[in-house]
């Protein structure tokens, strides 16, 4: 990452300009250094798909992908995303077509109140990027930082498994 372009506040100044690509779209914005990534997304950009559950780094409702990695956006400053990419739940659906992970949650009833769902899905997307055929244990481990108060997790695990299967079949179809 080009460090020369990395942001630095000048003396006494607490706001800086960042360049960040969110769901493929470039943004050049001024942001206070103390702004958390989740507040930047929800309040500065109005992207409320990313939820705040606990605000204490425990629940994973705020999970987004920062440079491809699933992180808790309530525990990252927006300035840390400068020159980087962020993927949120809003970017999953493409041209009116649901992402396989969304299909999976739909098919397998992977949600009840839906509060944990955006974070669950982003964690699952990162998992399936690395591991095309996760075992049940691997899925459970991967989502162990995402809490759900409703489902008991069984259907969430099934939903992710469903998505993995669909993604493998699509990949084979293309090959």
């Amino acid at each position: 990452m080009a460090v020369e372009t990395a942001p630095t506040t000048s003396k006494g100044q607490r706001t800086l300009k960042i360049h960040v690509t969110i769901n493929g779209a470039p943004h050049d914005v001024d942001v206070e250094a103390r702004t958390l990534l989740v507040h930047f997304l929800r309040e500065n950009l109005g992207m409320t798909g990313t939820h705040i559950g606990c605000d204490t780094t425990n629940c994973g409702a705020c999970t987004v992908l920062l440079n491809g990695r699933a992180v808790k956006s309530c525990t990252v400053f927006a300035v840390q995303a400068d020159q980087g990419t962020v993927a949120t739940v809003e970017g999953l659906e493409k041209d009116g077509k649901l992402h396989p992970i969304q299909e999976g949650f739909h098919q397998e009833h992977g949600l009840q109140c839906g509060f944990c769902t955006p974070g669950m899905m982003m964690t699952a997307v990162a998992l399936l990027e690395k591991n095309k055929q996760p075992t049940e244990l691997e899925i459970r481990e991967a989502i162990s930082g995402n809490l759900c108060r409703c489902t008991g997790y069984v259907n969430i695990v099934k939903s992710i498994d469903h998505a993995a299967r669909v993604m493998r079949e699509t990949a084979e179809g293309k090959a």
Binding site: V3, A6, T8, R14, E32, A33, R34, L36, Q80, S144
Partner: protein
């Protein structure tokens, strides 16, 4: 929760980070994975006036073997876990990193930050004590190598100066017939330890203990080394009686406190039991088992 406002700078390299910290006159703080610092800032338990972001310094996130094992301060827990050298030869590090927080936190959290934060509840300190690691620190006057035994001063306090950067952790090459294990009891995934015990030991041809290190998590204001327990094991065969005596000694050296994770007496017993199990696991690994 919103942290108090601060000035922010991205360090280009270690020298630049030191320069930035020095120019801040003691007001600056290093931002690594942020998984301890940012929560503290959100609660306003920490209100640094200036953050020096070291995440973009290249070369601090490498793991290499050079006789010893060298772990860059910025290596993320998730990367430590997946590293082939670590997986093959440093099982105790895999044990440790896998019980730290949860996979999302581990995608950001750094090994250097886990030590520099000096929380007695953090898991790497006990393991590094057992491994007899040292840390490399660089400051305005150059570099120094600090044995881990001298690194932790008190809760949240290390010997690092205000403008020193922890750059690397060095772990001595494991001798032949050696093995290690870290065992932690937690209330649920992602929680800090009720107690945790790290054991690293080497056996001679007759199966007697040679080099040995034992570290305990959440057993005082900093992670502790259970020296008496080590002394009991050294030179002895690892029979049930010796292991039981060492485990009792480790509990005797620990000073846990009563809190929502349980009363102190309970934790002492947890330390005793975990020490026994960790010794057995280390012995099993030293003799080719899991």
């Amino acid at each position: 929760m919103i942290p108090a406002s601060f000035e922010y700078a991205v360090a280009r390299d270690v020298a630049h980070a030191i320069e930035l910290l020095t120019s801040s006159g003691g007001e600056g703080k290093v931002l690594a994975g942020g998984q301890s610092l940012i929560p503290l800032m959100k609660f306003r338990l920490a209100q640094p006036a200036f953050l020096v972001d070291i995440n973009r310094i290249s070369g601090l996130a490498q793991i290499r073997e050079n006789g010893d094992l060298r772990i860059g301060a910025l290596v993320r827990e998730a990367d430590l876990d997946m590293n082939p050298i670590v997986r093959e030869r440093y099982q105790i590090l895999v044990d440790t990193t896998r019980v730290i927080a949860d996979p999302l936190v581990r995608n950001m959290a750094t090994v250097g930050g886990n030590l520099a934060h000096a929380d007695p509840a953090n898991d790497h300190p006990a393991t590094m004590l057992a491994l007899r690691a040292s840390v490399v620190a660089r400051g305005p006057t150059g570099e120094r190598l600090i044995p881990i035994d001298e690194f932790f001063v008190d809760t949240f306090t290390t010997v690092l100066g205000p403008n020193e950067i922890l750059t690397e952790i060095r772990i001595p090459k494991p001798p032949a017939r050696s093995g290690g294990a870290y065992l932690k009891l937690e209330r649920k995934v992602g929680d800090f330890a009720i107690a945790g015990v790290a054991v690293m030991l080497a056996l001679d041809e007759k199966g007697k203990v040679g080099a040995v290190g034992i570290g305990v998590t959440n057993a005082g204001p900093t992670a502790i080394r259970a020296r008496k327990a080590e002394e009991i094991l050294r030179g002895q065969a690892t029979d049930d009686k010796t292991i039981a005596a060492a485990a009792a000694a480790a509990a005797g050296e620990s000073k846990p406190w009563s809190d929502l994770r349980g009363p102190a007496e309970y934790k002492l017993d947890v330390i005793r039991v975990l020490t026994q199990r960790a010794i057995r696991k280390a012995v099993a690994r030293a003799t080719g088992g899991k």
